[in-house]
């Protein structure tokens, strides 16, 4: 049905569509600019956080190049193709998660990786994209808002990978995957009554989760979050030190390369999950505002793209991916500044490390594809 609509003989030319080289390459200039500026800022912070280690900068540059390449390649895939791929990707993601679980039971502890010989692959990263794509595909099949039955089906589609990932256990990623799916539901017009109902259900189920669903270290994280001083040398140490780093930065910061908390190794995970604290210490409140401005610019551009998308699938997917990006940002900064529990979520595009970087940039590739493959529609 939708495909029929797509092929309904509407005029090919689109006067609002950006022309020129970037458009031909299916790249969105404002989004690309925002991403490059953010990654550049990230490298500057990383240079300091890594203790001026050019080796780390080089490795991160290679990852960024790879991630931008992935973004570019994904941007070439028309949304139609993406929609066609959605169920397959979702199915593959579930299979791989199951595979990881089986391999993981052979090994010990958290198992998130699949060793594919040449490189290691984290299937949960795939589901970060596959789940919103799947839900968007599923909901776009019928008119919106979805019926209760379809909602329930979509809920199960979200829950399966989320539980599989949480079982690994990887609280951060399962949270992101869940939010990706939920954002699709929300954007698809999930009724407010349902949302309020869910919140009312969430509180007792939160208690159930606490009692039976959480590992000891996860509970500790929550407890430490509620009272970091509870264990100042153990789990609370991270938050206390990062709060000191942020607070001592003040308005203008201690200056680039001058952060004492990070350079003297008081700050843990300073190139990865806690890099925001390094930035706050060295660039101060002003630096944070700049960073947030860049992020918000990217997020608003993403939401703009979503609202100008031409079909339901694209809209839902673009909106959800953008909002997940915001969740990344908020969970990480909230965690580092001590208003959210410590869950292992990196600061998107800034934290050192490759896996999530590639996933995020692939997500932006989808956004660019959606925006640059539009056709003229009667308004």
């Amino acid at each position: 049905m939708n495909q029929a609509y797509q092929r309904s003989g509407l005029p090919e030319s689109n006067p609002t569509r950006a022309s020129g080289l970037l458009a031909d390459l299916h790249l969105d200039l404002p989004l690309l600019t925002g991403l490059i500026l953010l990654c550049g800022f990230g490298l500057v912070v990383l240079y300091s956080a890594s203790g001026q280690d050019m080796g780390q900068i080089q490795r991160q540059l290679i990852r960024l190049a790879l991630a931008f390449l992935v973004m570019f390649l994904v941007a070439q895939i028309p949304p139609v193709q993406l929609r066609r791929l959605a169920p397959w990707l979702y199915g593959l993601g579930i299979l791989l998660l199951l595979a990881v679980m089986i391999v993981g039971q052979v090994g010990k502890g958290a198992q998130r990786w699949l060793d594919l010989g040449l490189f290691r692959f984290q299937p949960s990263e795939l589901t970060k994209l596959a789940v919103p794509m799947m839900i968007a595909w599923f909901l776009a099949e019928k008119s919106l808002p979805p019926t209760w039955k379809r909602l329930a089906t979509a809920g199960i589609m979200i829950l399966v990978p989320v539980l599989l990932i949480a079982k690994q256990p990887d609280l951060g990623t399962s949270l992101l995957v869940a939010s990706a799916g939920i954002f699709v539901l929300f954007l698809a017009g999930l009724s407010w009554r349902f949302i309020v109902g869910m919140v009312l259900v969430a509180i007792p189920s939160g208690w159930v989760l606490w009692e039976w669903g959480m590992r000891e270290y996860q509970r500790n994280r929550v407890l430490t979050f509620l009272d970091p001083e509870r264990d100042p040398l153990g789990t609370g140490y991270h938050i206390i030190q990062s709060k000191i780093a942020i607070g001592s930065g003040g308005i203008y910061g201690k200056g680039w390369l001058n952060g004492t908390q990070s350079h003297l190794e008081f700050l843990p995970e300073r190139t990865t999950d806690f890099i925001f604290a390094v930035l706050s210490e060295e660039f101060g409140f002003v630096g944070i505002l700049l960073l947030l401005a860049l992020y918000l610019f990217i997020i608003f551009r993403g939401l703009y793209i979503a609202s100008h998308a031409q079909d339901t699938f694209s809209r839902l997917l673009a909106g959800a991916l953008t909002l997940v990006f915001f969740v990344y940002l908020f969970v990480n900064t909230g965690m580092v500044s001590g208003i959210l529990p410590v869950v292992g979520v990196p600061l998107p595009l800034i934290s050192y490390g490759g896996t999530s970087l590639v996933t995020i940039m692939a997500g932006f590739g989808i956004l660019m594809s959606i925006h640059t493959h539009r056709k003229l529609l009667p308004t």
Partner: protein
Amino acid sequence: MALLTKIRLKDHLRETRLFRDRVVVAVILVLLLVSGLILRLINLQIVNHDHFTTLSQDNRVKVQPLPPTRGLIYDRNGTILAQNLPTYSLEVTPERVEDMEKTLAGIGRIVEISDSDRRRFERLRKQKRRFDSIPIRIRLDPDEVARLAVSRHRFPGVEIQAKLLRDYPLGPVTAHVIGYVGRINQEELKTIDTSAYSGTSHIGKNGVEKTYEEMLHGKVGLQQVEVNALGRVIRVLQSQPPEPGRDLYLSLDAGLQAAAMEAFGDYTGGAVAIDPRNGQVLALVSQPGYDPNLFVEGISPKEYRALQQSEEKPLFNRALRGQYPPGSTVKPFIGLGGLETGVTDITRKTFCPGFFRLPGRKHKYRDWKKAGHGLVNLSDAITQSCDVYYYDLANRMGVDRLHAFLSRFGFGRRTGIDVAGERPGLLPSREWKRRARKQPWYPGETLIMGIGQGYFLSTPLQLAHATAVLAAGGIDHPPRVVQATLGSGDPAPVPLPPPQPVVLEKSLPGNWDDVVDAMVQVIEGRRGTARRIRDERYRIAGKTGTAQVFTVKQDEEYDADKISRKNRDHALFIAFAPVEDPRIAVAVIVENGEHGGSTAAPIAKRIMDYYLMGDR
């Protein structure tokens, strides 16, 4: 088809509107959450900025003390008496050692660790904190350092430490003057300003090292260092260098000191030489000495016991703390007292039959010369050391006048010398006896006091000081060892202000000359008790003395052969020279030396020869 398209389009428009509504909600949500985050950051970075800045400073900045180097000590000729030598020690930090026994055994295969090293280690381990490093071996030789350096990596928590250790190059020769430094102990910790001593492990325990502790120690410096999360020092932020301790310049002559000790031979005793013109102490000898270097890093209990239990008592500072009856060496002072108080005059003669009896009493107070000295005047009584003359003189002066006059020469009280540990001796008086013994003063005790026996006790230092006052014609320069100090900023040693001299009252200056003349006769007279030390090159005034260790009963005679060496009399001698312009005053006590003239006087002579004539 058209209808379908229309429915789709209508649906499409509805969906678009619905979606845009949701996006607006999302944008509002995003803005709300970001505002919440910004509020949080304002709270951390602006409202509580000072608080976190303090925490961040506390995190990274630690204050470390920079201990000052201890001042050096020189003698009057610039010979170094106390210095700081770099030494290597092997130290263990218990906290970082997993298996102490295994580690110590492993080290023991590379360098020798004696039982006493082990004991000291265990003792210090109990006192110190787990993260303090404790020496297991001290004074490593270069060979041992090299061997350890090669295999040290096998022993985490074990480190070779280079540090300055106090060293006394002359060892026993100056031990009793300089004293020594040792590790600060629990009691000292209570009295010292611990912040001034942070980083300093040693403190002056004795002698000049103790008296001048404050000057020698210097001022502690501070350094603010930046540390990382592991406590490792990354860099120095600010440093206030320590002010090294001041060097001390002593009036002591190390060569003289050594010569005097040598002159004692096998005898034990004390000798003090003072320049009567200014109170400068030239030699302060207690024989035997001991090696002060043993105490610097903590003496082993075994070595300490050996020193303590030695018959010769090497740790006992006889010059300062040895309290002996001055015997006949007080005769010149009492004689002068008799003249000055008008009780006697130089020509008045007393008959000495070999004993003295108080009127109406039977008890005989014997002279050392059984046959007696016959008719003697004051000069004879000094030259020949006639006891009977002095029994009579003391009897007529009475204890009160004796006490009053002798105290002017400093008997019975500390001289105030700047070497820690001096004892006051004892100049008896009625008041003292009532207080200390709860007894009245008996007339017989006055007689005994007249020949420097009985309760009367003085230290060699007191005797030398009194002799110096006599030599200086009644000018009392309080004795002092340290004459000048040199700080790091001073171009030359800065003299210590000399203590105010006290000028003794004289009723007739001629009396002093008479006593000195008599003392010259002790050496130059035909019957002088110290005639054997007569020297053509310079003139000496002196007085011999004997102090009883063993009381001879009435009607018994002192027979040296029958008495064990330990109970033989102490021999004393006081002297100054040259008589015309005295530059040195000496007091010598030879324990169990019997006769002042034969054992003590030659030692005093050796000291004067060395100092005045440069005899080496």
